[in-house]
Symmetry: C2
Subunit: 219 residues, 2 copies
């Protein structure tokens, strides 16, 4: 019986692709490629630093990933441009169905487990006017290692303080699905854009095309 | 005083981009994109599986990465096609200056440390007629974790059985440079195509545009 839902944040509740509009304003014609490479590099750096045992927080990882991205794409930048682009991660819009779904889940405990720092996550949730809907907002910063290291999921389990079987972990990121399933959570993959499944030896328990479909799974 | 050179294999001694020609024959017009996504996914899977604590060997990772790549790009395939593409990783050509450089380094111990399995590496080295030039060919398969986890570099250090300072680690992969430098090796980055440096908090000791330039560093 599911009594706790743990959501990933970036790409699951909040639309990271929206960053492309800010990129496009600053670099006309290049908004999509910049936001795509930046997101990819951001993830790579969380994985590589975790593997190297060289954790730095997500604010710094995000800045490093952005600088690499602009260097690689041959774009000039100033510190002010970097700051403007980084700030766009604090005002990511939530997906259209997020608030209505969260409203229907008020009888359950609702949590976030994210790579973002507590400050980034709290600011983003507040900017999206969703702060009333979460019982706990957890940052991997507390355990100093990024998903999909099992210690990140263990942190959420400990914070939830319920048996593993009571938890549904929800993410749109295929690698996060593999990691959370490998850890032993019940897992729902939000596959909004018909991506193929990652070939990492794990399958989610549920696949939905948006968060609204979670309601049926839980009931 | 450097007396041991440890080379990365894929991208450093052997040209992974050559796979695009085999991909192009099977999927006309798509050779470059397939080989690029495949290589990226192959690396991602080594990092993700290492983080998850779910190691499988590089032959299997490479197969999984290829299947994901073809699924993502919407390409049909048979097992025979998969096998043909995987086989192309056993006949990667070495870069033009590899043999002449290795010949000039015969007074030093020369090793390979690679994510590939021993079988893959030995076949590839033999196919390129380079088997006489290496004292040891090391696969991370022995330690069941991929670079840039420090245990992979530690394995090479133990096998070399010389002080860390006596070793020069050579790679064209920016993430491998960060990992090996973070581990504490002397590091040379072979930057053949003027890539920007990865923003992972580490800088190589030397940057060369091809392997021939290593000779001066070592002498």
């Amino acid at each position: 019986m599911i009594n706790t839902v743990v959501f990933d944040a970036y790409g699951t509740l909040f639309d990271v692709n929206s960053v492309s509009r800010v990129c496009e304003k600053l670099y006309p014609g290049n908004g999509k490629i910049i936001s795509r490479v930046w997101r990819q590099k951001q993830l790579e750096y969380t994985w590589l630093r975790s593997l190297m045992g060289r954790y730095i927080d997500f604010e710094q990882v995000n800045r490093d990933a952005l600088r690499f991205t602009l260097n690689q794409l041959g774009k000039n930048y100033t510190n002010a441009i970097i700051d403007t682009l980084l700030d766009s991660y604090l005002t990511l819009p939530s997906y259209p169905e997020v608030e209505s779904t969260l409203k229907l889940l008020t009888s359950l405990r609702r949590m976030i487990l994210s790579d973002g720092t507590e400050k980034m996550l709290q600011t983003m949730v507040r900017n999206a006017k969703l702060e009333l809907y979460f019982d706990q907002i957890l940052s991997v910063d507390r355990v100093q290692v990024y998903k999909p290291d099992p210690r990140a999921y263990e942190f959420a389990l400990t914070a939830a303080n319920v048996p593993k079987e009571d938890i549904l972990f929800v993410s749109s990121n295929g690698w996060d699905i593999a990691g959370s399933k490998s850890f032993g959570f019940n897992v729902a993959w939000v596959n909004r854009v018909e991506k193929p499944m990652e070939e990492l030896g794990e399958r989610p328990d549920f696949i939905v095309s948006n968060l609204t479909e979670l309601i049926q799974i839980i009931n």
